[in-house]
Symmetry: C2
Subunit: 375 residues, 2 copies
């Protein structure tokens, strides 16, 4: 059931220390050294290097006298088993802390590995339940995409090896100790990923904005997020190229504000529905969630009209929001009636549905899927 | 030297978990129990009881099976030695955590006691240097005044036993693990203290607003703080009585936003100058700082006119700000020329002066004192 909260409330928790600005890592050797003498660096295949972040981290660690082992094997939508392998590696090289450099996939994997490394690395189920006993290795995150907001959240979304389904865990022990926010690392992200990650950030802010736990503090964060992200999306919808440094910077900081919203509120139905499009149709995460945003906004308008109006005003108007989504969101997904029926059990008791204005039943999700994807 | 920062920066750290709203403590027994089986409660002489907070805490602890010892001896402008005595008491009753219930004095003392208790309680000098070795006992704070913002800061201001001067320490180990923000506890604060604490909150937001480290995140917090606090001050300037629950609530949450500003930026010259009026003329802390706000704002206008204008707009206009301060701030302080000269050594190298727009030299402080207080 949706339950409102007093608009002046001051409930808040986000313990990550964020250091931002151009060159912030190169100035922070001493801070990193405080975590220990040996670290494991987790990255994707190439983006951490291409962004410049990996070199900045390696140079800084060397100057600070910290030994680093690089584990460059994290893929998009990382498997739990990848995190377990990284955790073993951390154990073997006696890493005292872990640095994750990448987008949401790498950062989420680094959160998992840091907690597994101090416990039984095999114990993936306990990780996903948030019930591992010992506290994690200290974790440092370096974001290089403007979308996930994983830097500022205690959420990790991983793909289960057995059924290839995404599953998320939220736990205090998944917060980074330190996050570096240097927007320059996002400047080299290609167009397609720039669009998808910006849509992801927008989905975080939108879904959180209407959540029952979105009180005054988190509303203030949303008020910062929307103009920054909506400007960038509007530009991306009107141009074919890549945004310049100022807009990249705005998009990145917008994604952090949106991440702080998401972290406090959780997401609504677009996220779990989007997981299916990513798992089965390989649609990038942000794009997959955005598929469901127009319908979500329609529903939010009906149940929380004032709040919807405030959101549109922050974005430059309702037409801009819907026009931008129409231009940027594209997908080719076809499903059979039976296939859609098959998802129903998966949607039983999903908390994200409860966080949706007016509530959202599994049968409504099926109807939505039929209207969007039926052959 | 004053040094600006990019307006979109995202530097931020405030790890306290804040739980807010009416009755929030009574629902949090399980959370408190996680800190241990025995705790020390630090309070002032009577206000924690009068506010209703002490009873709520005691009932909640009893239900949760936590033994509590109450140490009700913290005075306004607490001495370092009081914190040491509290720390000894925590040791003797084997407290596993400390709960501070009160205004800034009690909360600042509780921060100090929690850190001393796990180290050598005698080592006050190391506390004030922030160099105690072992991590502190977990600390829970319950604010009952709408001013200090100590709930959300890593600052403790204590009075030194030897010279009765105030000294402040800022350290990560002074953050509470948990803070309860229930505005009802502020409803019974008498008029004089309501005015002074509201002025304190206003001073935090004003002094922080112009600080070099006030980037985009902290600016957003200031934007929340100013309207809430200015409304309350305006009401207090126009009426003789006590504000109602809504305005009390606004003032309390405003003080928390302002506390988050202060925590990130530090204060400028009004705070250290105010300390002298409190130490030697017994002027309540908030009132003492506010004595210097009109001059500070004049100076800020000259050096950062756009930022000053934005502040005034958030408060309902420049006239409201200055008119309110004129009505609410009163003091009877007379000094001799020699006395003022005597403060000069104390003002050498004060960091708060550097955080002042345009800088602020000790000789300027002396000139200001002469203009305000010379016999």
């Amino acid at each position: 059931m949706w339950k409102g909260r007093g608009m002046m409330d001051f409930t808040f928790h986000m313990p990550v220390r964020i250091i931002s600005g151009e060159g912030c890592i190169r100035q922070s050797g001493r801070l990193l050294r405080e975590f220990g003498k040996r670290c494991l660096i987790m990255t994707g295949m190439s983006s951490a290097k291409a962004s410049g972040a990996l070199d900045d981290v390696l140079e800084t660690l060397e100057e600070a006298g910290v030994d680093a082992t690089v584990f460059p094997e994290i893929t998009a939508n990382p498997l739990l088993s990848q995190c377990q392998t990284a955790a073993y590696t951390a154990e073997i090289c006696r890493a005292e802390f872990i640095i994750g450099i990448g987008g949401g996939s790498v950062m989420d994997a680094a959160k998992a590995a840091a907690w597994l490394a101090t416990n039984n690395c095999n114990d993936g189920e306990r990780l996903m339940e948030g019930s591992l006993r010992r506290p994690p290795l200290p974790l440092v995150l370096v974001g290089i995409t403007a979308g996930t907001g994983s830097e500022v959240s205690a959420v990790s979304v991983l793909t289960m090896d057995a059924d290839k389904r995404k599953r998320s865990v939220f736990h205090q022990n998944l917060y980074a100790k330190l996050a570096f926010a240097d927007p320059r690392y996002t400047f080299s992200i290609p167009r397609r990923q720039t669009v998808s990650t910006a849509l992801d950030a927008f989905a975080h802010a939108v879904e959180g904005w209407f959540a029952p736990s979105c009180g005054d503090v988190i509303t203030a964060f949303g008020e910062k997020a929307f103009p920054l992200i909506a400007d960038g999306l509007d530009w991306l919808a009107r141009h074919d190229g890549l945004p310049g440094p100022d807009m990249r910077t705005a998009l990145y900081y917008g994604s952090l504000w949106a991440g702080m919203v998401l972290n406090a509120t959780g997401t609504a139905y677009p996220h779990p529905l989007g997981y299916i499009l990513t798992e089965e149709y390989d649609i990038p995460h942000g794009m997959a969630c955005a598929v469901f945003l127009p319908g979500f906004l329609d529903r939010a308008e009906r149940h929380m009209p004032e709040r919807a109006e405030r959101l549109y005003a922050l974005c430059g108007g309702r037409d801009i929001v819907f026009g931008t989504l129409e231009k940027l969101v594209s997908y080719d997904v076809r499903m059979t009636r039976e296939q859609i029926e098959g998802y129903l059990p998966r949607w039983e008791g999903v908390k994200n549905f409860e966080r949706t204005p007016g509530g959202f039943a599994p049968e409504e999700a099926a109807a939505l899927f039929r209207s969007l994807f039926l052959n």
